[in-house]
């Protein structure tokens, strides 16, 4: 019984005359979706599977489908006769263009069998001469099919066709089953001593041979080392490095990918003519002093190194010169070339070295890519990729990246072992926070931590793009946008639209036992991003113009357009953090705070005057005169019904309405009079605190800010099981709102998972006049029919996206990843929802 072995991710081309049983074979061995047949495509474009005239169009469709599947990394089987080399050539070319391997399976059946089978099928009315011709083509093909570019050609005849089974070969690069933890080590270039120091420092235990040379290593915590290649050349002891790494790889404690220097050294050792430059001379010299067996073992080892590894379920890729996403797990000459040499432009720089295209700048993949090849002064993250070649052999340092911790560990070079041709410089010039339109445009699905996805519709993204580009602050500062917040279910209590009881009930139902009620400051929602120093701003946010932070609105606009005012506000806030000693205590030199900026009139002055005050003015002018004419009419004995009373009540409501907005207005000049009321620490170095810490931590930490620009957030914790506790909080809310407060926000005291609202706002009766109009209390029954579902769903989605952006920020993910989530919040905000909720 013949087992046919094909690459797990490849293109399989079936070859055989009509009636040779290709479709039956394909059906037996592959999933229906994996098989694309020319008959099927003919049917798609002509409604007739045997319409030969439609064949060119049918193959266009076939190639398109096959190409799309290969781009997406799916095993694909082509069921067509493929007896002519032109047809096969196109498929081989297609596979190559997607960097996947391609195998052929030839079903070689006698002509009479094929003719007999076709005769049984009424839809195949073409004559036997067609088969004869195909058969002739196939015969001619078989002699030279091996030159078509297939990785392997499997020819099946007779009984083998029925008995064959299919086996799948995993790609050599596929080590996704290895989950680490890993220590990924940069270009060693013969610096054995530094390598030993680095490994020892990382906790590795070296094993030595009789003469004291290190020949293996093991980590007590079971870590695996991965070398990014370029073990050899230039440095003092390439054989020593090889000996150690070969030992580790043999023992299974290390993996190693090929570097371009290994590649060239192998060629030299194989006796090929190569230019003996760039330190190759040293390796050859050093190896010449080694015994023949070692030289041969080293040659075989280096010759067997592969271009890159996919690890940890595909989340990590290691390649010598990096690898763009489309090449991960692929196999082709150009993939290998990219992995070894990078994306060269074909030009050379003033030092005669190849100019490389900065592929990392455009990298948008989810997998972390770790690489070396180009020496730079400091290992630096660029879009979830990191170069760990810090030029040890040139007197720099030898660097390891600890995975998954993303921790960079280095040891300095003992000396300059080799003079660099050009000075070390960062590979990528820092972008001015550049994002690509592809990061935000169109319908998108943003992945969030819990494994879910949030869909962003194209038109919402389009609306957000305009706001983002025209009004928002620099995206490097814009690391978070606050989610919308829903009110609780509508109260049935006489005179109230919203009441704490429903909020408490909601959380009880969600299984929450303790909530915190926080005073809702009536101002404008503000996010404050603060860096301790200009250096911290540059290091964390990439903003190097000397500014140390920003305070922006819920749609990402700066609170003050004047940079001087903004600078002053930020300086005062940073001062408050410094005075409280929070930088030290939290171990961070930057903070993102969620807050309310007061007074309301500071940002919304125009709105208040144009709309609220105007309504008040009109009401105060119209209603007294209306009351007067109605009273006069009633005095004449006319039946004006309850209109007099109603109008009097409206007059009183108008006065209450005026008081409601006036309470939140006070004059400010510059930032004098401006107050910030922070209530949550969103993120800081290494931590997205918003999703991790209980509110007691946030509130008590923030309570340490005592500057006069800070207004504390009053709050009360409620044990939901206790009637007294709930009653006390309700009393607190009543007092707060009757004194003119906006209301409170009720939040689960501890972070909760699942579809639980992160907070609900319970607004006061008087405040709601600003929202629902002066007379809303007259028509509560009508308002009770308000629809909350959309608002609540939106609040959950935006909250998830908010936490996601913070997690990406704190996790050190690239700007575009943070921006994607932030942008998504803005896009969702353009969804139509009753704005009164």
């Amino acid at each position: 019984m013949a087992e046919i072995s094909v690459p797990a991710m490849s293109l399989v081309v079936l070859v055989g005359v009509s009636g040779s049983g290709k479709s039956t074979f394909a059906r037996k061995h592959f999933k229906p979706t994996q098989v694309i047949s020319s008959d099927f495509c003919r049917g798609l474009v002509s409604d007739d599977e045997n319409d030969q005239e439609s064949t060119p169009d049918a193959f266009d469709v076939l190639h398109y489908i096959v190409g799309t599947r290969l781009r997406r990394g799916l095993l694909t089987v082509v069921d067509a006769t493929n007896v002519q080399w032109e047809a096969r050539g196109k498929l081989v070319e297609l596979a190559r263009s997607h960097d996947v391997l391609v195998d052929a399976i030839v079903l070689d059946v006698p002509e009479e069998v094929a003719v007999a089978r076709n005769a049984l099928r009424p839809d195949r009315d073409f004559g036997a001469h067609v088969i004869t011709r195909q058969r002739k083509d196939l015969r001619r093909s078989l002699s030279k099919i091996s030159r078509d570019g297939f990785r392997r050609v499997h020819v099946l005849r007779g009984g083998d066709i029925d008995e064959a089974t299919i086996g799948y070969e995993k790609a050599w690069t596929d080590r996704r089953e290895l989950t680490g933890p890993f220590d990924i080590i940069g270009d060693v270039h013969g610096c054995r001593a530094e390598l030993e120091t680095l490994l020892t420092g990382l906790g590795w235990e070296l094993r030595h041979d009789d003469t004291g040379r290190p020949v293996g290593a093991e980590h007590p915590e079971g870590r695996t080392a991965i070398f990014v290649g370029d073990l050899v050349d230039r440095g003092p002891d390439s054989p020593g490095v090889l000996r150690l790494v070969m030992g580790m790889v043999a023992e299974g404690t290390a993996l190693c990918v090929s570097g371009n220097h290994e590649q060239k050294l192998v060629r030299a050792l194989n006796g090929r003519k190569v230019q003996i430059t760039h330190g190759l001379e040293r390796s050859l010299e050093q190896l010449a002093g080694e015994p023949e067996e070692f030289r041969e073992a080293a040659r075989a080892f280096m010759d067997g190194l592969i271009s890159h590894y996919q690890l940890d379920g595909g989340k990590l890729v290691v390649a010598h010169a990096g690898l763009k996403e489309a090449y991960h797990g692929r196999a082709s000459g150009r993939v290998r070339s990219f992995a070894l040499y990078g994306d060269t432009t074909g030009e050379t720089d003033e030092y005669g070295l190849p100019v490389r295209y900065p592929w990392a700048k455009d990298y948008r993949g989810l997998a972390m890519v770790v690489y070396g090849h180009t020496p730079i002064p400091e290992a630096e993250w660029v879009n979830n990729t990191i170069c760990v070649d810090t030029g040890c052999v040139f007197g720099g340092k030898l660097t390891a990246l600890r995975y998954p911790a993303r921790e960079v560990v280095s040891v300095p070079a003992e000396r300059v072992w080799y003079e660099p041709t050009r000075p070390l410089a960062p590979v990528v010039v820092r972008d001015p926070g550049l994002l690509d339109i592809g990061d935000v445009q169109g319908t998108r699905y943003v992945e969030i931590r819990d494994g879910g996805k949030v869909k962003i519709r194209e038109e919402n993204a389009a609306a957000a793009l305009e706001i983002m580009s025209r009004f928002a602050v620099d995206p490097r500062w814009l690391v978070y946008l606050p989610p919308t917040m829903a009110p609780p279910e509508t109260s049935r209590l006489d005179g109230y639209l919203e009441h704490p009881a429903e909020a408490f009930e909601e959380f009880v139902r969600a299984g929450v036992t303790e909530v915190v009620c926080e005073e809702k400051h009536m101002g404008s929602r503000a996010v404050a991003v603060l860096a301790r120093t200009p250096e911290a701003a540059a290091a964390r946010f990439g903003i190097a113009d000397g500014t140390c932070g920003i305070v922006h609105t819920r749609t990402g606009r700066p609170f003050f357009d004047d940079p001087a005012l903004m600078g002053e506000l930020v300086a005062r806030l940073r001062g408050a953090v410094t005075d409280a000693g929070l930088w030290e205590d939290l171990g961070t030199d930057w903070l993102v705070l969620d807050a309310e900026l007061l007074p309301w009139s500071a940002k919304a002055g125009g709105l208040i005057r144009e709309q609220y005050a105007a309504v008040g003015a009109a009401a105060r002018a119209a209603l007294p005169e209306a009351v007067a004419v109605l009273e006069a009419a009633a005095g004449r004995g006319l039946d004006v019904g309850d209109l007099v009373d109603r109008t009097r009540r409206r007059f009183a409501n108008a006065a209450r309405f005026r008081d409601a907005y006036a309470r939140y207005c006070w004059p400010v000049s510059g930032i004098a009079g401006v107050r910030l009321a922070p209530f949550q620490i969103l993120a800081m170095e290494g931590r997205a605190a918003a999703g991790e810490e209980p509110h007691s931590w946030h509130l008590s930490t923030l309570a340490r800010l005592t500057s006069d620009i800070i207004t504390p957030t009053r709050h009360i914790f409620v044990s939901l099981a206790s009637e007294e506790s709930r009653a006390a909080a309700t009393e607190w809310w009543t007092a707060l709102t009757e004194a003119g407060g906006e209301g409170m926000v009720v939040k689960p005291a501890h972070p909760v998972a699942g579809r639980v609202q992160p907070g609900v706002k319970v607004r006061g009766r008087e405040y709601l006049r600003i929202i629902y109009g002066p007379d809303y209390t007259e028509s509560l029954d009508a308002l009770r029919g308000r629809f909350l579902g959309r608002k609540r769903s939106l609040a959950l989605r935006e909250h998830a996206l908010g936490l996601e952006s913070l997690a990406r920020l704190a996790g050190g993910e690239p700007l575009w990843r943070v921006h994607e989530a932030v942008f998504a919040v803005l896009a969702l905000e353009s969804e139509p929802v009753d704005p009164r909720l």
């Binding site: 709309q611 209109l643 629809f787 139509p832």
Partner: protein, 512 residues
């Protein structure tokens, strides 16, 4: 009755009270009841689509008789449906002055309730209906965009003695100044039917906002109501324009909502159009952000609505600018052009006329602008060959975009000054660093020239983030050239002033 859109009204639970009173002292004053066809001793109700109108008489003596028209409107039940079709989508829909202020709703109610009186028919007192009587009309809260002066200007030519007092916004915040409302009292011997028609037309004109979409039959309504007085009114131009409304062709509700302050901001972003500007019609149709400069010049050129000045009008600056850009593109032999920030597509349209330019692409960050461009360029009716040369898509200059690449020339006409200074580096990178066309043409205001605009305070457009002097523009340009390997030359656009230079400055950047 106009079609209502967006607001659905329930017929219960009205709130607010919009009031208008009409009094006469012409004896016997109670004959007012005959003229209005409403009995002085009854309270009559008239359901309106937006609420309830009532007519009653607070006083009715032989010496003085007053009819009150009171309208109850309920903003809470001006409930929008959950669908997205509603034209307006901001809080202003819920908290607004309509329940208190005399607006187009009152005008509509007035027209409906006093339909016969407005036509001048009165079988019982025909001679009284035909001639002037002593009238006093009081509107306690009248929205009046243009202030009390406008009320004087509009009513005095019609024979009214006008008392218009501006109402303060808030007595507790006197620094906020006056509201847009006036308490209006009109007195005079006027024929009652005329008085009603005056009010019917002037209430929405003063408010400068209508509660319903303006349909084509509005023109007929205006002509009917204005019979006998509108044609000779000195302000007839303004009355007509305002009555018919500045048609906003497209509303972008998502944008309005995101603009935080609702409609107000969007209005702010509209050009500060002078009513008499010759371009107003075009602005109204396209909503294009024409700069204050053009407006000022256009105003200057026409000086008053109806009578163009004898001397030849100057070519508007926006036209000169377009011509200058087109000329440069021809000079450098650009065969493919991308207009970055194309707005409503005027330049794109111009470039399409030149068959030598094989590919014309318009990019704007505003989906609304692109929709306008598509309409202005009549995309759906464009011949295939021309259509094939044109591309329109949304893009932003602060995001790299591979679609920007591969053009001979890129145009940034009056665009950079709309970008926040901290984002200019990103713009430079996107345009000069990654799109890298052979030629980039940039135009921007020359701030030195601003002193030549007599009435200009601040910048030329509220959305300008900065305006550069010639030196500042050159400094930015040199920086870009150095970083990305371009070479810049500068040209004036518009009449060059010996002292302060041209109104617009243009930089032509060439690669290499």
């Amino acid at each position: 009755m106009p079609e209502y859109s967006g607001w659905l009204i329930a017929d219960r639970e009205k709130s607010g009270s919009v009031l208008l009173t009409i009094s006469t002292t012409t004896r016997p004053a109670t004959d007012l009841g005959f003229l209005l066809h409403k009995h002085p001793d009854r309270v009559q109700e008239f359901g309106q689509s937006f609420g309830m109108a009532r007519v009653f008489y607070p006083e009715a003596t032989a010496g003085r008789c007053t009819a009150a028209l009171m309208l109850e409107v309920d903003p809470i039940r001006l409930v929008r449906s959950r669908g997205k079709a509603s034209p307006d989508f901001s809080l202003s829909q819920y908290v607004n002055d309509r329940p208190y202020a005399a607006s187009s709703m009152l005008a509509v109610a007035l027209a409906d309730v006093f339909r016969t009186a407005r036509a001048g028919h009165c079988k019982a007192r025909p001679e009284l209906a035909a001639g002037p009587i002593e009238l006093e009309v009081t509107v306690p809260a009248l929205p009046c965009r243009g202030g009390p002066e406008l009320a004087h200007q509009l009513f005095e030519p019609l024979g009214w003695q006008v008392e218009a007092r501006a109402l303060p916004l808030d007595d507790g915040f006197l620094e906020w100044g006056d509201s847009r409302y006036v308490r209006l009292v009109l007195r005079g011997p006027v024929r009652l039917a005329d008085a009603l028609n005056h009010l019917y037309v002037m209430l929405p004109v003063l408010d400068d906002a209508k509660h319903y979409w303006i349909a084509s039959d509005e023109v007929d309504k205006l002509i009917r109501a204005g019979q006998g007085w509108l044609a000779s009114h000195p302000e007839r131009g303004r009355i007509t324009r305002r009555y018919l409304g500045r048609r906003r062709s497209l509303t972008n509700t998502a944008f309005a909502r995101l603009a935080e302050l609702g409609d107000d901001v969007e209005e702010d972003l509209e050009p500060p159009v002078e009513e008499e500007a010759t371009e107003t019609a075009e602005v109204a149709e396209t909503g294009e952000a024409v700069e204050a400069r053009e407006t000022l010049e256009a105003t200057d050129a026409t000086d008053g609505a109806e009578e163009p000045r004898a001397q030849e009008p100057r070519t508007p600056l926006n036209l000169l600018r377009r011509e200058a850009v087109v000329a440069v593109l021809a000079e450098v032999g650009a065969r493919t052009v991308v207009d970055l920030g194309c707005g409503s597509g005027q330049l794109v349209g111009e470039l399409l006329k030149n068959p030598e330019i094989g590919k014309v692409t318009g990019v704007d960050v505003s989906a609304r602008a692109l929709a306008m461009a598509a309409r202005r360029l009549k995309l759906d009716r464009m011949p295939e060959a021309r259509r094939a040369r044109l591309h329109l898509f949304q893009g932003a200059l602060t995001y790299t975009d591979e679609r920007f690449a591969g053009y001979d020339a890129a145009v940034l006409m009056e665009v950079v000054e709309h970008v926040d200074p901290p984002r200019l580096a990103a713009l430079g990178r996107v345009v000069f660093g990654t799109a890298r066309p052979r030629v980039v043409v940039v135009t921007t205001p020359n701030s030195e020239y601003n002193v030549r605009y007599e009435f200009l305070t601040g910048m030329r457009h509220p959305d300008h983030r900065f305006e550069w002097t010639r030196a500042e523009f050159a400094a930015w340009a040199e920086g870009v050239c150095q970083e990305y390997g371009y070479h810049a030359t500068y040209r004036p656009v518009g009449d060059e002033d010996p002292e302060v230079g041209p109104p617009t400055q243009m930089g032509v950047f060439s690669r290499g």
